[in-house]
C-alpha cells in the first residue's frame, strides 16, 4: 500500500509537467502578437506602433524560441511565481488561493444533499424494485442526468430570484461583503458562512446561505441522478447475494437486512462515485459560478480562458490537475480500505 501511494505521488509531478506543456503549447497557436495582448492594457494596445510592439515582445521574451520560454516559465513556477493574473488583478497563485475557499464551500454544501438524498433514493429504488416508486425515481434520475447545468441553473435563477426573490445571484450582498472585508471580521476557516458563525454574525451567515442555496439546488439536482443510479444497481446486485438470503432465512428483520447487511456492502462502488463527484464538484463548478455570478476558482478560470489570460489559465489548469490526481489517489486508497479484496499493487 505504501509503495503504491509513493509510486502514484511520484507520478504527480510528471503529470503536472505534462499538463503545463500541453497548455503552454496550445497558447503558441496564438503567435507572439496575440500573446503580447495578455501583458498590455487593451486601451493602450491599439495605439502602439510596430517598433513599440517589437520592444515589448522582446521585453516579455516572446521572441525567444519555445523551449527557452517554457523553461523560463517552468523555472519561475518552481519558485512559486506563476505570473501576473490580468483577470484577478493579483499574482496567479494568490488569485487561486484567495478564490479556492469559495469553490470549496460551494462543493461542501452541495455534497450534503447530494450524498444524503442520492444514496437514500438509490436504496429506496432498489428495495422497491420495479414498483411505481422505483420507476418514478429512475425517470427522475435519467431526466436529471439529461439536464444541462446551465439550463437548470437559469430555471432556478428565474424561479427563485426573479419570481420569488429568495435567492439572489452573487456571493454576498454589498453590506455583508463590507463586514467580511472589515478588520474586525476574523477569517479562521476562510469559508464565509462558517467564519460568520464563528464571528457570531448570524446576519452575514444568513446572507451567505441565501446566496449559496441556488447553486446548491442546481448542483444537487444534476448529481443526484448519477449517485442514485450507481447506488441502485449496486444495491440490487448485493440484494441478490447468498448471504442476504441467508440473513433473511434465519429471520433477521427486513430493516436490518437492508441497512446493515446489504447497504454496507453496496456502498463500496458508491465510494468511488462519491469521490469522482467531489472532484467533479471542485472542477465542474465553472458554469455554475458563471451563471450565479459567484466568486470562485471556476469563474476565475472561465474569465481567464475567455480573455486569453494565459498565466491564469495555466495556473488554474495546473491546480485542477493536481486536485484530480490527488483525488483519484484518495479514491483508490478508500476503495482498498472499504473492500479488503482489493489489493493495490
Amino acid at each position: 500500500m505504501t509503495t503504491f501511494i509513493i509510486r502514484r505521488l511520484l507520478l504527480l509531478p510528471l503529470i503536472v509537467l505534462g499538463v503545463s506543456l500541453i497548455i503552454f503549447s496550445l497558447f503558441q497557436i496564438l503567435g507572439p502578437d496575440k500573446l503580447l495582448a495578455a501583458y498590455v492594457n487593451p486601451n493602450v494596445f491599439d495605439k502602439l506602433s510596430l517598433s513599440d510592439l517589437q520592444v515589448l515582445k522582446e521585453k516579455y521574451g516572446l521572441t525567444k524560441p519555445f523551449a527557452e520560454r517554457y523553461g523560463i516559465w517552468l523555472w519561475n513556477a518552481l519558485k512559486g511565481d506563476l505570473g501576473w493574473s490580468q483577470v484577478g488583478k493579483e499574482p496567479v497563485l494568490k488569485a487561486i488561493i484567495s478564490r479556492f475557499p469559495y469553490t470549496l464551500e460551494l462543493a461542501l454544501y452541495a455534497l450534503i444533499p447530494v450524498v444524503g438524498i442520492g444514496i437514500w433514493l438509490g436504496v429506496l429504488a432498489a428495495v422497491k424494485r420495479d414498483k411505481f416508486l422505483d420507476q418514478f425515481i429512475r425517470i427522475f434520475a435519467i431526466v436529471g442526468w439529461s439536464f444541462p447545468d446551465f439550463v437548470f441553473g437559469l430555471l432556478v435563477l428565474m424561479l427563485f430570484y426573479s419570481v420569488l426573490g429568495w435567492f439572489p445571484p452573487g456571493t454576498l450582498s454589498q453590506w455583508a461583503e463590507e463586514i467580511v472585508k472589515s478588520p474586525e471580521f476574523h477569517k479562521i476557516t476562510h469559508l464565509v458562512s462558517i467564519d460568520a458563525l464563528l464571528n457570531g454574525r448570524l446576519d452575514v451567515f444568513w446572507d451567505a446561505l441565501r446566496h449559496i442555496i441556488g447553486p446548491v439546488i442546481t448542483l444537487s439536482f444534476l448529481w443526484w441522478a448519477y449517485l442514485l443510479r450507481i447506488t441502485r444497481s449496486s444495491m440490487l446486485e448485493v440484494l441478490s447475494k447468498e448471504y442476504v438470503r441467508t440473513a433473511r432465512a434465519k429471520g433477521v428483520p427486513e430493516h436490518d437486512v437492508i441497512h446493515k447487511h446489504a447497504q454496507r456492502n453496496a456502498m463500496i462502488p458508491v465510494v468511488t462515485v462519491a469521490g469522482n463527484m467531489v472532484i467533479g464538484l471542485l472542477s465542474g463548478t465553472v458554469i455554475i459560478e458563471v451563471i450565479f455570478n459567484r466568486t470562485g476558482i471556476g469563474r476565475l478560470a472561465a474569465d481567464a480562458a475567455v480573455q486569453l489570460d494565459y498565466a491564469t489559465v495555466l495556473g488554474t489548469t495546473l491546480f485542477y490537475s493536481i486536485i484530480l490526481v490527488l483525488g483519484n489517489l484518495i479514491i483508490d486508497i478508500l476503495y482498498a480500505v472499504f473492500d479488503p479484496r482489493v489489493r493495490l499493487g
Binding site: L11, L14, I15, V16, G18, V19, I22, I23, L26, F27, I29, L30, R138, I139, I142, V143, W145, S146, F147, P148, D149, F150, V151, L154, L155, L157, M158, L159, Y161, S162, V163, P169, S233, S283, G284, V286, I287, V290, I291, N293, A301, A302, A305, V306, L308, V313, T316, T317, Y320, S321, L324, V325
Partner: protein
C-alpha cells in the same frame, strides 16, 4: 443458409428485447423525431429573410441558413405569437433557431463522437496490442490529457482557435478521445490472451490484420455503447461553450447560443424576467429532450449488449 437464418432470428430477438422496454422505445421515438426535424428543417422553418425582398418580390433566400436572420431591430424578447410560435429574442425567431439548431446538435455531436472515438480506438489498440514501452508512453499521455477538466480544456482551445463551430468541434475532439482509448485497451488486453488470437499469431498473420479482423470486432461493442452514451454529454458541453459566448458566431442557429442571449436578459434586468420564460423554455427543452433521447438509447443498448454493466 442456416447460419443466415440464425443470425436474423438473433437480430429479431435483440430488437424485441429493446422494444419491450418502454424507456428505450421513448428514446428511439424521440431520436427519430429529432432526425425528422433535422432532415426537413428547410421545410419546417424556411430559410428566408422576411425583412428583405428579392427582385421578383419574393422573400430573400438566406446565404447561410445556419445564421438566424434578424427580423426585428429591437433586441428585447418578444412573447410567442401566431407568426413566431416560440417568440423572439435578440431580434431573431426562436422557432427558427430551435429547428435549425437540431441540425447543429447532430452535426457537432456525431462528428466529435465519431472522430474522437476512432482516434481513441487507434491509440487504445496500439497501446493494448503492442504493450511494453509503447503502452507505457501512450497511457501516460492519456493520463495527462485526462488530468485537465474537459470543459476547461475545451474552453481554452476554443478561445485560442477563435470563432466558428468547427473550432468547438476540434477542441472537443482533441480532449475527448481518452475514454475510448482506455476502454479499448482494457478489452484488448483481455482478448489478446484468448486461444484464437494466439492461434492466428502462431500461423504468422500480420499484426494489422489480427487487430482489424480478430481483436476489434470482439471489443468494439462496449466502445459503441460508450460513444452513444457520450453523445448527450458532448452536446451539453458544446452548448455550454456557446452559452459562455465561445465558438459559435453571433446569431448561429445553436441552442446554447440562444440561451446565451437569454442569460443577459435574465441577469441584466430584475423583476419581470419570468415573462421571458419562452426564451429559456424552448431552446432548453429541445436540448434536454435531445440529450434524454441519446441517454435512453445508450442505456437500452447497454442493457441488451452488455448486461454486466447494468
Amino acid at each position: 443458409m442456416n447460419e443466415e437464418k440464425k443470425q436474423s432470428s438473433e437480430f429479431k430477438r435483440t430488437m424485441r428485447k429493446i422494444f419491450r422496454n418502454p424507456s428505450a422505445v421513448l428514446g428511439f421515438v424521440l431520436l427519430i423525431f429529432f432526425i425528422i426535424i433535422a432532415i426537413f428543417a428547410p421545410l419546417i422553418a424556411k430559410p428566408i429573410n422576411p425583412m428583405m425582398l428579392d427582385d421578383d418580390g419574393n422573400y430573400m433566400k438566406l446565404d447561410n441558413p445556419y445564421i438566424m436572420p434578424r427580423i426585428t431591430w429591437s433586441s428585447e424578447p418578444v412573447p410567442p405569437s401566431a407568426e413566431h410560435p416560440f417568440g423572439m429574442i435578440q431580434g431573431r425567431d426562436i422557432f427558427y433557431g430551435v429547428v435549425w439548431g437540431t441540425r447543429t446538435a447532430f452535426f457537432i455531436g456525431l462528428t466529435v463522437t465519431i472522430i474522437s472515438t476512432l482516434f481513441g480506438i487507434l491509440i487504445g489498440s496500439i497501446s493494448g496490442y503492442y504493450g511494453g514501452w509503447i503502452d507505457e508512453i501512450l497511457m501516460r499521455i492519456t493520463d495527462v490529457f485526462m488530468s485537465i477538466p474537459f470543459l476547461l480544456a475545451a474552453m481554452v482551445l476554443t478561445t485560442i482557435l477563435g470563432n466558428g463551430i468547427d473550432k468547438i468541434m476540434i477542441a472537443m475532439t482533441v480532449f475527448g478521445w481518452m475514454g475510448a482509448a482506455r476502454l479499448i485497451r482494457a478489452n484488448i488486453l483481455q482478448v489478446k490472451e484468448e486461444q484464437f488470437i494466439l492461434a492466428a499469431r502462431a500461423l504468422g498473420v500480420k499484426d494489422y490484420f489480427i487487430i482489424m479482423k480478430h481483436v476489434l470486432p470482439n471489443t468494439i461493442f462496449p466502445v459503441i455503447i460508450q460513444a452513444s452514451m457520450r453523445m448527450g454529454s458532448l452536446v451539453i458541453t458544446a452548448a455550454g461553450l456557446s452559452f459562455l459566448g465561445l465558438g459559435a458566431p453571433l446569431g448561429y442557429a445553436d441552442w446554447g447560443s440562444m440561451l446565451n442571449f437569454t442569460r443577459n436578459w435574465i441577469l441584466g434586468s430584475s423583476g419581470s424576467t419570468f415573462s421571458y420564460w419562452y426564451a429559456v423554455f424552448y431552446p432548453g427543452m429541445a436540448m434536454v429532450l435531445f440529450v434524454l433521447a441519446w441517454n435512453l438509447v445508450g442505456d437500452a443498448l447497454r442493457d441488451v449488449f452488455d448486461p454486466r454493466l447494468k
